[in-house]
């Protein structure tokens, strides 16, 4: 039996030294507690602290019970701990105040308990816990310090070091399968319902818009319509010759763009004429050339064409569109 000297540091900096025989450690703790755990009862109140067990394994838990007795005329305020009581001692759970006995005329007896743990092996001291009386910081009662022995895990250095074990698979239970199946069924059902509703709604909407949507005009129909509108505006008759020729050439250029894919609006007249030369017959080309060249003279050279020249440009534009519109081939009935 070897003897060893142990030293405990108390709250406030003082040390307690004990020579203990290692097999009699528990006895030594009891002796220590016997000398230092003194129940206090003064000023109409007393407090005591005790642990369910003074020896726990590393990470193990024990309950610290604070028992308070006080007379009716005394009010008490418990200390507020955050997450630890002292260094190395952590609070796992703070339990509700438990009334042990209530004698209305004389004493109240309560118990306040905390589940505590420690992750550091060694002997740790729970320092005196102070409870103030009647909200007066000069009047208080406090517990005696309590020892906690945290046992470490015994390691055998001779043994091989093993890897951490993987979590064990528990397997899926029938209940879980039913829950998953239920969720999948709900999601699929919801998506199907939305898809069906959307398809139905869209189809209905399409039918409505189709009813009111006019048939898109072909390039030549559009051009002829615009030329007719331009004629009705009587622009050159009201001395707006430049505007008349600008609009006239715009209609023809846009028609060429749409009908032949020649980007005439972005081309100069020479480029348009060069692009159209091989696409139309000579007579039609001459008509196009006349209206573009006359329009250029009006737009850029202040030319003032005669009335019949203005009319000729319009007629040439209409002829050009009619001559180049796509030919409808009708099948003869047999």
């Amino acid at each position: 039996m070897s003897m060893e000297v142990r030293r405990w540091k108390l709250e406030g900096g003082s040390y307690v030294k004990l020579c203990v025989f290692v097999p009699l450690r528990e006895i030594a703790i009891i002796v220590f507690l016997f000398f230092f755990s003194l129940a206090a009862f003064s000023q109409g109140a007393s407090i005591s602290a005790e642990l369910d067990t003074n020896v726990i394994k590393l990470g193990g838990q024990t309950k610290l019970r604070l028992r308070i007795e006080h007379t009716k005329d005394v009010t008490i305020a418990f200390p507020q701990f955050k997450d630890s009581i002292a260094s190395h001692i952590e609070i796992v759970e703070e339990h509700k105040l438990d009334t042990l006995s209530e004698e209305v005329t004389t004493f109240y007896k309560f118990e306040k308990s905390y589940t505590i743990t420690s992750f550091d092996s060694g002997y740790w001291v729970i320092p005196p816990i102070r409870v103030y009386l009647n909200n007066d910081t000069s009047k208080y009662i406090e517990t005696e310090p309590v020892m906690l022995d945290v046992k470490g895990v015994a390691l055998d250095p001779q043994k091989e070091v093993n890897d951490i074990k993987e979590p064990l698979s528990m397997g899926i239970t029938l209940k879980e399968i039913l829950i998953i199946a239920g969720i999948i069924f709900l999601v699929v059902g919801l998506i199907s319902a939305i898809a069906l509703y959307w398809l139905f709604f869209r189809k209905k909407k399409l039918k409505i818009t189709q009813l009111f949507q006019p048939k898109p005009l072909s390039a030549h129909e559009k051009a002829l319509g615009l030329l007719d509108q331009l004629r009705k505006k009587k622009l050159w008759e009201t001395n707006q010759v430049k505007l008349y020729h600008s609009e006239l050439t715009d209609i023809v250029r846009n028609y060429i763009d749409e009908r032949f894919g020649v980007s005439s609006p972005e081309q100069v007249s020479d480029e348009t004429l060069a692009a159209m030369k091989d696409k139309v017959d000579e007579n039609t080309f001459t008509k196009l050339k006349q209206l573009l060249q006359l329009a250029d003279m009006v737009k850029f050279a202040k030319a003032e064409p005669l009335s019949n020249e203005n009319e000729l440009s319009m007629n040439n534009a209409v002829d050009f569109v009619n001559a180049t519109k796509p030919v409808e081939v009708k099948e003869e009935k047999k």
Binding site: S263, E266, V268, S269, K299, F300, A301
Partner: protein, 327 residues
Amino acid sequence: MDIKELNEKIQRESAFVDLIQMEMDKVIVGQKYMTERLLIGLLSNGHILLEGVPGLAKTLAINSLASCIDAGFSRIQFTPDLLPADLIGTMIYNQKKEEFTVRKGPIFSNFILADEINRAPAKVQSALLEAMQEKQVTIGDQTFKLPEPFLVLATQNPIEQEGTYTLPEAQVDRFMLKVVITYPNKEDERKIIRQNAGGVFPKTSKILTTAEILKSREVVREVYMDEKIERYIIDIVFATRAPKDYKLDKIAPLISYGGSPRASISLALASKAYAFIKRRGYVIPEDVRAVCNDVLRHRIGLTYEAEAENITSENVIAEILNAVEVP
């Protein structure tokens, strides 16, 4: 003035254009595009930067044009050791008179051929470009007006870039046109060989005086430009600055900066001069398009992205011309 009268006047006044072209054709084969651009510069009072590989008759063309006109001509070969004083002149101490006298430099002439302008250092380029802009030169404490007409025709070589001083964007903007000369076609090259192998080099004769040029410049300014053409020019220049406004999102990341207002002015003047050369008293969109590349190619800054993809300013201009609506 009535447009008909203006047309007739221009028909009359522009007769010399054909004569100059005929004279130039005697000496230079297959560079009609270049001679036309030289005439545009001459008629619209704009300096010209000619760019082309060696041996394309750039210097000969300018020489020939100058010799067609009864005017002063100076050729300055730009070299790395050239000094501004070699160009504009300097003060010389006269021992007999015991005073400083001004010795004017070769810049005091009507036509200046600045050969290989990018070989001279920045200070010489600046001196020339300042004279081009201000049309006057200060030597010592005296300021001298440069003779009228004053036209700088500079050449530069796109290859052999080592040891050259690239013209900064701000200075290159002072040139109205940047003309890029390409190789002649096979037929023209055959004519060049025959002409040179014969050993007989035709010479141009003087057919025009400086007074006539100045008068022609006045007439060029009178060429009618409709507001539709003005708007077309503005649209083109604005498309170089804000391509997205013209649905040209594709080229927006390729342009770092667009044409300045000087580009719009130059485009308008060059279009008028081109219409004059074509003997018309009014500008049509074809005229704008004809000079657009030469006016804008050195005024559009390309991004690194464009350079990495080998996209030139000519490609950008082509995209713009295809997108901007013609009036």
